[in-house]
């Protein structure tokens, strides 16, 4: 074992509800005892607390447990099951998966905070990780407890009402891990008594929801080859699904499924086909061995067809196509995989033979319009694609930002590169830039407005290319890119796209490009953040700013919402802190 688990003592923990049910209720003690026994079966945090705190406080814990039962009596309570994940819309107070539901909507049907009162929002609590680097997490909230990850593969559980910690897990990472873009992580998945963390040294681990203790630790792959994990896993049935990072290191990408109980790997889908497999011929020579095509953002799941829709990233080296002639399947594609077997049902490749680092690792969004079952993606290459979810057939592709790389479409309707788009040795200006019209930050689809909201970046880069030999575990770009200084300063916008027409309906302009995702709510709001540290509530219908709060650090995360004790909160990470906002 490489790592040691660190569980912090909790001297500052005060049991929730202690001041809520004081001595005036002793006659309820027998009921409380009964309820506590019942609670122990389903989800009894009090047993954890009891082990750790003195007899004096134990009395309060009994009250606390009782309070928790009252609180949760009207909600789905107990451990998270696959059934609860499928029906997450029935418990809007909880946020059970990375995108809030299996469809990738990042939408909350809570409406206590709404367009008429958003101006009054205040910060309710702030949790500081005291760590440096980008803080990219989306928390989960289950029945009043918030689970999230921080920089350097820490994970923590908080009282979602107060932000006070319940436990902290800190992975001891080896010094030679190879994350391309910071020691980041985007969150956890949950099932039963476990939360799942995919680590920067390419392990999948299961932590006890009550203590943060490691229950199992599975090695996915040798990190020294350049593999990392940064995404939040997705739980489907009894499987923990992850996609690997490492497109900058010439890895061979894959998507894995692990048994939630044991950590045993059930299937692996290589995103670069090997010899004899369909698609292998889209790679020149041995280039497939270091072909990249990572899968580093959490996909979505359709329970009806039992399919995963999982996007993939760039072929390697990212900015040099010489030596890997062909389409380079399945890089920059959306894959429809059977969830039980990992078998490929269909794929759609957004950018063939990519030379601009335009990973398709944006959360795809399942949208139903009438009897049309669609899947939409605002792609890093600047086009908003709508596909038929059953077949992967392209239905439309419309730009939602400035693009210069394409001015025509092929017979399928797919935008094709023009003659001025390929990188050259001396460099060539192309829009969007290497970071794309959007990136990994989540979009949101509101079932209230029917709009798709995405954080768009307006920046162009000069792309250059240079030969580079592959060396295992070393960065493998074959290129460099530079800001295009002659153009306008970079800027950004939160854009509302009508998925039916692909047209941008409104935008809220940011001073500079943002790395914040979006959350839409049934309260008629869209929440997003900016690079200058503002958290912003927009009118979902018009894009008008209704409220903002300066958090003091840039946002590299997507917001989410939850409710505890009947009070709605909206949370987002910024700087090195996690913020929760609510009404006064």
């Amino acid at each position: 074992m490489r790592e040691a688990d660190l569980i912090v003592p909790r001297p500052f923990f005060r049991p929730a509800g202690a001041c809520r049910f004081p001595v005036a209720y002793p006659r309820l003690a027998p009921w409380a005892a009964f309820l506590r026994r019942f609670a122990a079966v389903v989800s009894d945090f009090s047993s954890v607390f009891r082990r750790q705190i003195s007899r004096d406080t134990d009395w309060y814990i009994k009250r606390s447990s009782f309070a928790a039962m009252i609180l949760l009596a009207s909600t789905a309570h107990g451990q998270v099951t696959f059934n609860r994940l499928v029906n997450s819309s029935k418990e809007p107070q909880n946020w059970l998966t990375y995108s809030g539901d299996y469809a990738g909507h990042r939408f909350s049907s809570l409406d206590q905070i709404n367009a008429s009162n958003a101006h009054a929002l205040v910060a309710k609590w702030v949790y500081q990780t005291a760590a440096t680097g980008k803080f990219e997490t989306t928390p989960l909230v289950v029945d009043g407890v918030l689970y999230a990850t921080g920089q350097d593969n820490r994970a923590f559980a908080l009282d979602a009402r107060t932000g006070r910690p319940i436990w902290l897990y800190q992975r001891q990472l080896p010094s030679d891990i190879r994350p391309c873009c910071g020691r980041v992580n985007r969150g956890l998945a949950i099932l039963g008594d476990k939360v799942f963390l995919a680590t920067l040294d390419a392990h999948i681990i299961a932590l006890d929801t009550k203590t943060g203790n490691v229950i199992w630790d599975a090695v996915a792959v040798d990190y020294q080859q350049g593999y990392t994990f940064t995404l939040a896993p997705l739980v489907v049935k009894n499987l923990v699904i992850v996609g690997v990072s490492g497109g900058e290191y010439g890895v061979r990408g894959f998507i894995d499924a692990y048994e939630a109980d044991t950590g045993k790997r059930v299937w692996r889908f290589y995103t670069v086909p090997g010899p004899g497999e369909a698609g292998h011929g889209t790679w020149e020579g041995d280039s497939w061995k270091v072909g990249g095509a990572p899968a580093w953002i959490t996909g979505v799941y359709d329970p009806v067809s039992n399919q995963l829709f999982w996007p993939t990233g760039n072929p390697a080296p990212s900015n040099r196509g010489e030596g890997r002639a062909g389409d380079n399947l399945y890089s920059n594609a959306l894959l429809a995989l059977d969830a039980d077997s990992g078998k490929l049902n269909w794929y759609f490749q957004f950018t063939k033979h990519d030379e601009h680092d335009w990973d398709a690792t944006q959360v795809p969004v399942m949208i139903d319009i009438g009897d049309k079952h669609l899947i939409a993606q605002a792609n890093r290459n600047g086009f908003f694609y709508v596909l038929d979810r059953a077949t992967g057939k392209l239905l439309s592709a419309n730009p939602y930002g400035k693009i210069t790389w394409s001015d025509s479409k092929d017979a399928e309707g797919r935008p094709v590169p023009n003659s001025q788009s390929a990188p050259t040795a001396e460099g060539r200006q192309v829009c969007p830039g290497a970071l794309g019209t959007t990136n990994w930050m989540s979009p949101s689809f509101s079932s209230s407005t029917g709009m798709f909201y995405v954080s768009a970046r307006e920046e162009c880069d000069i792309f250059s290319t240079a030969p580079q030999p592959y060396e295992m575990g070393h960065a493998y770009y074959g290129s460099a890119y530079f800001p295009a200084d002659g153009s306008e300063p970079y800027w950004g916008a939160l854009r509302a796209i009508d998925p039916a027409s692909g047209q941008v309906k409104w935008e809220f302009r940011h001073l500079s490009p943002s790395w914040s995702g979006a959350l839409s709510t049934a309260g008629g709001l869209v929440f997003t953040g900016d690079a200058e540290g503002n958290f912003i509530a927009l009118d979902a219908a018009s894009g008008k700013a209704l409220w903002h709060f300066q958090m003091g650090g840039a946002v590299y995360a997507s917001p989410m919402a939850f409710a505890v004790d009947g009070k709605e909160y909206v949370a987002i990470a910024a700087g090195s802190s996690l913020y929760a906002f609510g009404l006064p």
Partner: protein, 274 residues
Amino acid sequence: MLVRVVSLVLLLGLTTVLVGEDQNPLGGDPKAAKLGEFQFRINCAFCHGLGARGGGRGPDLTRAHKRYTHSDAEMFRVISDGIAGTAMPANGTNGQGVGMTEAEIWQLISYIRSVEVKTSAQPAGNAVHGKELFYGDANCSSCHMVEGKGGRLGPELTAVGGSRTVESIVDSVRNSSRRLAWGLTEATKEFPQEYETVTVVTADGREIKGVALNEDDFSVQIMDMSEGIHLFEKNKLRSFSKSRVSLMPSYDATLLSDQDLQDIVAYLLSVGAK
């Protein structure tokens, strides 16, 4: 020099572990320099330009004399930890490129050493005369400060000679608007002073013109022409507009001869080299 390195290493106990070496263990290895070039393109060229000749953002690293780094050990530390208070980020934190291993940093140093111009480039101009012009007839100091003397409206220029190419300094004088608002990428723009020209009309009808000191989606800080600082919420202004035409006049050859400009550049280089 050795004493300096030793004391540096002793002072920074943590760094001692990181650095481990006073001199590049790969020094002089041409293969290391070639590998370092890949690292440079990925991690450094975004600001320091292809070939390390400097961009509008980062210094020309082909100069043998560098402001912050002399020894290999200092260069290792600067690449690892960044330079506090500047846009130079710590290894792996700039949002561009990757985190480099120790060996890769040494390769990078090998590359930078391989492209250094060994002969110290003596500026052609007369620094003494350049200083007279800066504080006198050329009127630079009415807006620019060097070593604590001068105005505040434009960028402080003490370090500019050590951190920008001669070409970019000359260009900034001859075409003052061209390099305006070359925004740094978000990871390095803690304090995004970009000198865009801003004009606001307040709710009570006052027009104020100046440069933007800082700005976000909702607020703006302005220094007006007489160095007064104004802090505004944008939605409380009657109007707000920005221009990329600099408040600084473009000095063409009739306003400032090539020789005089060369002298001013020589002055800035002499200050920047300190």
